[in-house]
C-alpha cells in the first residue's frame, strides 16, 4: 500500500476539488433543508 516515495508533484497540493465538492454538498443541504422547512410553514400553526 505504501508508496510514500512518489510524493513528487504533490508539494503544492491545494484541495480545490474537495472544496468544490464540499460547497456542492452544502448547497444540496440547503435545498433539502428548505424543502422540508417550507412544508412545515405550509402546515401552519
Amino acid at each position: 500500500m505504501g508508496n510514500n516515495d512518489s510524493d513528487k508533484g504533490m508539494e503544492d497540493f491545494q484541495p480545490k476539488g474537495a472544496l468544490a465538492f464540499f460547497i456542492m454538498m452544502l448547497v444540496m443541504f440547503v435545498v433539502i433543508w428548505f424543502a422540508l422547512y417550507f412544508e412545515i410553514l405550509s402546515r401552519g400553526a
Partner: protein, 152 residues
C-alpha cells in the same frame, strides 16, 4: 489551519446560522413552536371537549392501551383547538397528519399544543410510540366539516 480549511469551516458555520435563522423565524413570526412545560393544568383522567369562544375549543385527550379518547372529533372549519394530551398507563404518541401537531403522551405529565384547522377534511392521528401488543390499532380521526351543521 490553511486557507481551504478556513473556507470550509466558515461556510459550515454560515450554513448552521442560516438554518438557525429559519428556526427562529418560524417560531416567532409564524408561531410554529414545540410543546413547552405546562404547570397550570390540573391532571385529568377522562376526556372532555368544550367550546371556549366563537371558533375556539379546548380538548382534553386521554391515551390508553390501545385507544385515544375521544377517537373521533368533529369540528367546524376554522376551529382553533387548545389540545391537552396525557396518558393513563404507558407512553403513547399523538401526531395529526398534515398538521404541526406531534405530542408525546406520557403518564404523569400533560402535553399541550394549540392548532387551527383551516382546511376541511379528515385528519388521521396514529399512536407513534410503541405501547404494547395492539399498538398498531391505536388511532383516531379529526373530522373538519366544511361548514357548521350542528354543535360539536
Amino acid at each position: 489551519m490553511d486557507k481551504s480549511e478556513k473556507i470550509a469551516f466558515t461556510l459550515s458555520g454560515m450554513l448552521l446560522i442560516l438554518f438557525f435563522g429559519g428556526i427562529v423565524y418560524a417560531a416567532i413570526v409564524e408561531d410554529i413552536d414545540v410543546p413547552t412545560c405546562i404547570t397550570n393544568m390540573e391532571p385529568f383522567e377522562s376526556d372532555t371537549l368544550f367550546q371556549t369562544g366563537p371558533d375556539s375549543y379546548e380538548l382534553q385527550m386521554v391515551a390508553r392501551m390501545w385507544s385515544f379518547q375521544p377517537s373521533v372529533v368533529t369540528l367546524p372549519v376554522g376551529s382553533t383547538v387548545d389540545l391537552y394530551v396525557t396518558s393513563q398507563d404507558i407512553i403513547h404518541g399523538f401526531k395529526i397528519e398534515r398538521k404541526n401537531v406531534n405530542l408525546m403522551a406520557v403518564p404523569g405529565a400533560i402535553n399541550y399544543m394549540r392548532v387551527t384547522f383551516n382546511e376541511p377534511g379528515e385528519y388521521l392521528f396514529a399512536c407513534h410510540e410503541f405501547c404494547g401488543a395492539a399498538h398498531h390499532t391505536m388511532a383516531g380521526r379529526i373530522i373538519i366539516e366544511p361548514e357548521m351543521t350542528e354543535g360539536p
